[in-house]
């Protein structure tokens, strides 16, 4: 879930537009395309992550993106996705669902065992699901993903049967995520403290040691036989191991890559991407994340945005296109959908987002925001047209913060007083929980369109004990709720697609959100590193087929 949001350390991710870079594969398939020459065995890869260091390596616990990034190297899921977004076998070879969609049978690969020797079987699957659903595990993402799974029944060693409370059309997508990956039951049994330090899976690498604040070292799993159906080669990885470093400062991270201190970095900044593509000395992987796009949510739960005219006026006034071009060096594409462009069912309508200052002013006058003060800020009945906009410095990269300043500047022309306040994560959540915001940017990563339900279903307005709630637009629309619920349990693909399209039309048409661009997720690596690719699931890189040439 909000994984990406938790603990992203200062200056974080960068964005680049898929396609904008003409690199043959600014697509998740990049790896294969680049995989020229013969693989070389050996060598240790150094990975530099800009994300904050996880406090637990087990993605079941909590469940955020930094965990997914590293867990993908030593854990595997039951299923995966291919580039077209079709579900493909991984640890499960095949699956069937009942008519009512309430039971799923997963056939598992045989003669697979975890790196601690524990055999991988239906019991293991059962143990994992129970682990995820156990409150003591403190799972968030996985817990939500399997929300509709009641129990798992061990039919045989190789067949696990999932019993659902209600049909879940997103089950396979949910199971493809690293946060629901399968761990060794023996490992889990060791208890959280131990399992957090070195989770045990079936993946191509094994957690060797973790030196907090410094690095995690992974070594090759020589007995590795599994892997998703679309894997490039069979058997153990070429690399001897991976040194997983944490370098929060983007400039240092890029410098380290240039200096050859590290082989690959994530969260590459736009300007550095621009440099890299100009110099041509570094290779780039652009893997936009699935789920929601980066967008501004307009809080429709309270004035002034409870008035659709004011929402539209803001969207007409706030001009972001030039900003995206200049700040992201033409490496990020403007999006007109609330869903990521990698989502098959993403629906976009640019006609809704033309900027037109006159119309914005007209709308505001019509809505009664007629008075203007010396600074040109509108007000109504003495109440100024103020938009509080808390920005988390942990997750909005500098370029994005600059973009927000431009939104602030352009919206001001229409008489909006946008009050940006960059704050640290805790304060940010504090502001949201207290509803002290009119605007907010809160990306959300999840496989599949079901993310819409989490973000815009009225149920998501009721906060968790922490005060956190996902529906930040506070969109409360019965029709929408109906559509999303139906879509979530609709098994027929076309029907489902249609339902989601209608839902998205309601969201976009109601001016509840201002889409900006995909959740940018860029990796830069040295040309010496080959065969690396980003998983089509949540766009984390996998090094199962990667090697270090020369």
């Amino acid at each position: 879930m909000t994984s990406r949001r938790i603990f992203r350390s200062l200056p974080a991710v960068a964005l680049v537009a898929a396609g904008a870079i003409v690199l043959a594969g600014c697509t998740p398939a990049d790896g294969d395309a680049a995989a020229t020459g013969d693989p070389v065995t050996g060598g240790t890869l150094v990975y530099a992550s800009g994300d904050a260091e996880p406090s637990c390596l087990d993605p079941h616990v909590g469940g955020n993106y930094p965990q997914a990034l590293i867990a993908g190297q030593f854990l595997e899921s039951l299923v995966s996705l291919d580039e077209s977004g079709e579900v493909i076998p991984w640890l499960a070879t095949e699956w069937t669902t009942s008519e009512d969609g309430l039971t799923w049978d997963f056939t598992l690969r045989e003669d697979v065992s975890f790196t601690d020797g524990t055999p991988f079987d239906a019991e293991a699957v059962k143990a994992n699901v129970e682990h995820l659903k156990d409150p003591a595990t403190q799972s968030s993402t996985g817990y939500l993903a399997l929300g509709k799974v009641d129990t798992v029944e061990v039919v045989s060693d190789t067949v696990a049967r999932f019993h659902l409370s209600v049909p879940d059309s997103a089950l396979l997508e949910s199971l493809s995520q690293p946060w629901t990956a399968i761990e060794s039951p023996t490992g889990i049994a060791r208890g959280m403290d131990e399992n957090c330090v070195a989770p045990v899976g079936t993946g191509p690498f094994i957690v060797d040691e973790w030196i907090p604040q410094d690095h995690v070292s992974l070594v090759r799993n020589d007995d590795y036989t599994t892997g998703p159906a679309d894997r490039a080669h069979d058997g153990a990885a070429y690399l001897d191991g991976i040194t997983w470093r944490f370098i929060p400062d983007s400039a240092s991270r890029y410098a380290a890559l240039q200096a050859g201190e590290v082989d690959i970095i994530d969260n590459a900044q736009p300007d550095t991407l621009d440099q890299a593509s100009k110099s041509g000395t570094l290779v780039e992987i652009d893997a936009p994340r699935p789920g929601a796009a980066n967008r501004l949510e307009l809080n429709s739960g309270q004035p002034p945005f409870d008035d659709i005219r004011v929402r539209e006026a803001f969207i007409r006034a706030a001009d972001v296109n030039d900003g995206i071009d200049s700040l992201f060096f033409g490496t990020a594409d403007r999006s007109y959908s609330v869903l990521s462009s990698v989502e098959q069912l993403a629906y976009s309508d640019d006609s809704l987002f033309d900027t037109d200052l006159d119309e914005a002013n007209a709308l505001l006058d019509e809505a009664g925001w007629t008075e203007r003060d010396s600074r040109g800020i509108r007000s109504k009945d003495g109440v100024p047209l103020t938009l509080r906009f808390p920005v988390s410095t942990n997750q909005s990269i500098p370029a994005e913060q600059s973009l927000f300043e431009q939104v602030q500047a352009t919206a001001k022309e229409a008489g909006f007083d946008v009050q940006l306040s960059p704050v640290d994560l805790s304060s940010w959540y504090g502001a949201l929980a207290a509803h002290e915001y009119e605007l907010v940017s809160a990306p959300y990563t999840k496989v599949g369109p079901d993310v819409l339900r989490i973000l815009y279903h009225s149920d998501s307005i009721t906060p968790a004990p922490s005060g956190y709630f996902a529906n930040l637009a506070q969109l409360d629309d019965a029709d929408l709720d109906a559509l999303l619920t139906a879509a979530a349990s609709e098994s027929d693909p076309d029907e489902r697609a249609d339902l989601y399209e209608q839902a998205q039309q309601i969201i976009l048409g109601g001016f509840y959100a201002l889409p900006l661009y995909d959740q940018q997720n860029h990796f830069l690596h040295s040309p010496g590193l080959e065969g690396v690719r980003a998983m089509p699931t949540v766009s984390t890189p996998t090094f199962a087929d990667a090697w270090l040439a020369d």
Binding site: S55, P135, P212, F246, S252
Partner: protein
Amino acid sequence: MPRSRVLRRVALRLAGAAFVLWAVATLTFFAIHLVPGDPAQAILGGPGSQASQEALDEVRADYGLDQPLVVQYGAMLGRLVTGDLGDSYALKTPVAELIGGQILGTLALAALALVVAWVLAVGLALWSTSAGRIGRAIAGGLELTAAALPHFWLATVLIAVFSTSLGWLPPVSNDAASGLVLPVITLAVPLAGFLAQLMRERMLEALEQPFAVSAAARGETAAGLRLRHALRHAALPAINLSGWAVGYLISGAVVVETIFARPGLGRTLLRATELRDVPVVVGVVLVVALVYVLMTLATDVVSRFADPRIAREEAPA
């Protein structure tokens, strides 16, 4: 001075040190507990987590967070006395261990930086006092500029120049010693600015003194005058600054460790503050305070040793 007075003074200083530590612990503890944000949340995956009410209650019970603040405070003091800093909310590991793993890096960094800063400062002071008006003006400019350089900016520039452009040094710390160079310089330069400023003034002062004249009258060389006479006088106040300097360096470490991706207290603290990881914050602050206190005690001894005059006129604070 007589033994008895020495002992009394030592006792007094130690008591003072203990008081400082207690006060720091107390201040930090209550400060953190005034913060909006629920420790239980911090424990359960931090803000924005969707931990269930049950889980929260469970954790509150486990960590005694349901106790009244005073009780928690007492518990903390009790643990502190036994050297137990409690467990990290986020990492669930003992804070003492966590800090133990991080402190050496930071101390090494700070120590090296202190040494380098001294070398730079002394060099600059020696040069500038022998140079003419213009030389002094330049030196003064250098000192002020150095002292006015924010660490984060200096670090970025150094990386851009020595790593990216020249490729001489690694931009991020690595196992090799070369990884220490840039961080140390980053920390040392601004400090050197301060020290040099102070030392130059003191040296010029000392060189005006009659004892400098009589030394010269014995045939002392210009260099000798500075090294054997003026420098000692200039060094004293700077030595007395060491306690402050260490604090200054550790402050800088917060930034420097982040930029150069060094493990250390600074980063630990920054992270813990973000996560509201109370035990870690208290722990780090305490350890830093301890370092400061020890440092001041040390400088106290050193300057006493270097300058018998201090022992004679004793001044509190």
